[in-house]
């Protein structure tokens, strides 16, 4: 205050007094707003109870559990190969990516490593599921902010990627294709050329979305500076993926972790953004789709020949031990803590899903925001209900 001149100080005090008067005149009772569970912005069934004071949120409480399927309990009565069929359904838009960390954890316990060709194809399918997943996010983002056109582009172009996944694995959404020691099958004929075409289309899609949405003034004013997450808070809450990188943390498990996947064989970069707001999170995801198409393109050139399955016994018994493997999934860090007691099935599996941590920040983040920004923030955090509830 001491920096202000007398005139300014008086003006400041007067404006404060005027504000106080208006607040007294317009004093309203608090109101509780219920959003969901069936709300288009929730990617499933998340319910948010928000206590409002006028247009501002005083506190917000997300209420999960509408889609809890108890996978951690179910894994205990399944054999190891059967678990992939379950974990497919955690993040249903990028299913193949869910299988990989679990299979890698089982392989780690068994001391098996998939052949080079299988690792390459795994990485390609992993990135394809990321592209399919984030493409839908980019389209949905528009709908949630009031622009309907992008979602048609997104659904149109995502179909190309899903066709590729279906062609290779037999399932559009739930491939169930990863096996301990490799993959169920080799790639079908023509897959490589077709994928190259689709990657071109996806890059074009990114350009379209960038021009349609990210350059749009309304979009920018609705996302810039909204829902800022500082870096330390993001780390404390265990946020991961694009949400973390949008807060300026240069950390990507694909690059920083040594796993039997082919990321170290290609040239790509990790995208970060210093702002930490909703715009940054959306922008990082858009750029990551572009990077993913580059990764896939390069991997297609270098697929080594050879088998796609290592020698593993037909009846799989996993030796005693504990293993943790996490990968950089479309939504963030997804990991499995697998405890085996030498049985055919796991003794305990802790599924650490990305959205659970990403969305646990909302009570903190939604405090003090305006009602329309709730939707912006939820859209930009990007969660999938199956990934929260498991």
């Amino acid at each position: 205050m001491s920096l202000l001149g007398d005139r300014q100080q008086l003006a400041y005090i007067a404006s404060q007094a005027a504000d106080a008067r208006v607040n007294v005149e317009l004093e309203t009772e608090g109101m509780t707003l219920n959003i969901g569970p069936q709300h288009p912005a929730t990617h499933g069934t998340l319910r948010i109870i928000a206590r409002l004071d006028g247009e501002q949120v005083v506190w917000a409480d997300p209420s999960c559990g509408y889609m809890h399927r108890g996978y951690e309990k179910l894994t205990e009565v399944r054999s190891f190969p059967q678990v992939t069929a379950l974990v497919n359904r955690i993040d249903w838009l990028g299913s193949f990516a869910n299988e990989v960390p679990f299979i890698l954890a089982a392989e780690k316990l068994m001391g098996v490593e998939a052949p080079d060709r299988a690792q390459h194809i795994r990485t390609i399918l992993f990135e394809l599921s990321r592209i399919a997943n984030v493409t839908l996010f980019l389209g949905d983002l528009g709908v949630q902010l009031g622009a309907v056109t992008p979602v048609f582009f997104a659904f149109r172009d995502r179909e190309y990627v899903l066709n590729l996944i279906e062609g290779a694995t037999g399932g559009r959404f739930h491939p169930n294709f990863d096996r301990i020691g490799g993959l169920k099958d080799d790639l079908p004929a023509g897959f490589i050329d077709e994928t190259r075409n689709v990657m071109k289309k996806m890059r074009k899609f990114c350009d379209e979305i960038e021009a349609l949405l990210f350059g749009n003034e309304i979009f920018q004013s609705r996302t810039r500076g909204i829902g800022v997450i500082p870096r330390d808070v993001a780390l404390q809450y265990g946020m991961s993926g694009a949400n973390l990188r949008a807060s300026g943390v240069d950390w990507d498990l694909r690059r920083d972790q040594k796993l039997p996947l082919a990321y170290d064989k290609v040239d790509w970069k990790v995208i970060t953004h210093p702002d930490g707001d909703s715009f940054a999170r959306c922008w990082v995801r858009l750029q990551e789709v572009r990077e993913s198409t580059r990764i896939v393109d390069q991997l297609l050139d270098t697929i080594p020949a050879g088998p796609v399955m290592a020698k593993v016994p037909k009846i799989i018994k996993v030796p005693e031990g504990e293993a943790w493997v996490s990968t950089e999934n479309p939504l963030g860090e997804m990991g499995y803590y697998v405890v085996s007691q030498g049985d055919m099935g796991p003794f305990r599996v802790k599924i650490r899903s990305a959205s659970f941590n990403n969305i646990s920040i909302t009570p903190w983040l939604l405090k003090g925001v305006y009602v329309p920004d709730i939707i912006t923030i939820l859209a930009s955090l990007y969660f999938i209900l199956g990934d929260i509830d498991r």
Partner: protein, 216 residues
């Protein structure tokens, strides 16, 4: 991506993690009951229950500032097995508790994982939960993200967290009885109807011995 740590001798060595665990043990002192390093894989420590919160604080100050998860493990062997046999004639099962890495004395253990950002050096921290108390201190004030994880652990295992602001159920109805992830909580679907997947285990006609590798 660099493979400078690849000094292949007879026993696998991991200088980075060995040095790291020494640093952690020096900082934590006597609160660590046991520790384990698996070369080029991961680190485990087990701490005493009264040092649970201070362990979190110390590790955070040592650079483990990324909170990954908190959960629990029920080490009791399931009295129901996989629920694949006839419920009318139950099999007698062993109830001997076989603990995992870094051992333990109790049936329930809480496990947490913290990671050093950028280095991806992670550490798994286990703590025994006394069967009579069934509660440990909460990490909420150390890592804000522990809030939901502790709520989940509380409803799934019935483990309390002292100092947690709000241990409501996350998934289950408020009046739900029992703790589903405990091993003695039956998976009802397996009790009301025999598991149809059991037929998959029987060898198919024309199948060879089990040692044969799968098709390539």
């Amino acid at each position: 991506m660099s493979s400078t740590t690849d000094t292949t001798t007879d026993a696998p060595r991991d200088d980075i993690r060995d040095a790291e665990i020494a640093r952690v043990l020096a900082a934590l002192g006597t609160s660590v009951v046991d520790s384990l390093v698996k070369p080029n894989d991961d680190m485990w420590i087990r701490v005493s229950a009264d040092a649970w919160v201070s362990t979190g604080e110390t590790l955070k100050s040592l650079g483990y500032s990324y909170f990954c998860f908190i959960s629990a493990i029920d080490w009791l062997p399931s009295p129901f097995g996989k629920g694949e046999e006839d419920p009318a004639s139950p099999i007698e099962r062993s109830t001997v508790i076989k603990q995992g890495y870094t051992g333990g004395e109790t049936r329930f253990q809480v496990i947490a994982r913290l990671v050093q950002p950028f280095s991806t050096l992670g550490i798994n921290i286990k703590v025994d939960v006394d069967d009579t108390v069934m509660a440990i201190d909460s990490w909420v004030h150390v890592f804000a993200g522990a809030n939901w994880h502790e709520r989940e652990t509380h409803e799934m295992f019935g483990i309390g967290f002292n100092g947690h602001p709000d241990l409501r159920n996350m998934y289950l109805p408020t009046d739900f009885e029992g703790h589903p992830l405990r091993k003695d909580f039956p998976l009802l679907a397996r009790h009301v109807k025999p598991w149809p997947g059991i037929v998959d285990v029987e060898p198919l006609p024309g199948d060879d011995s089990e040692e044969e590798g799968a098709e390539s």
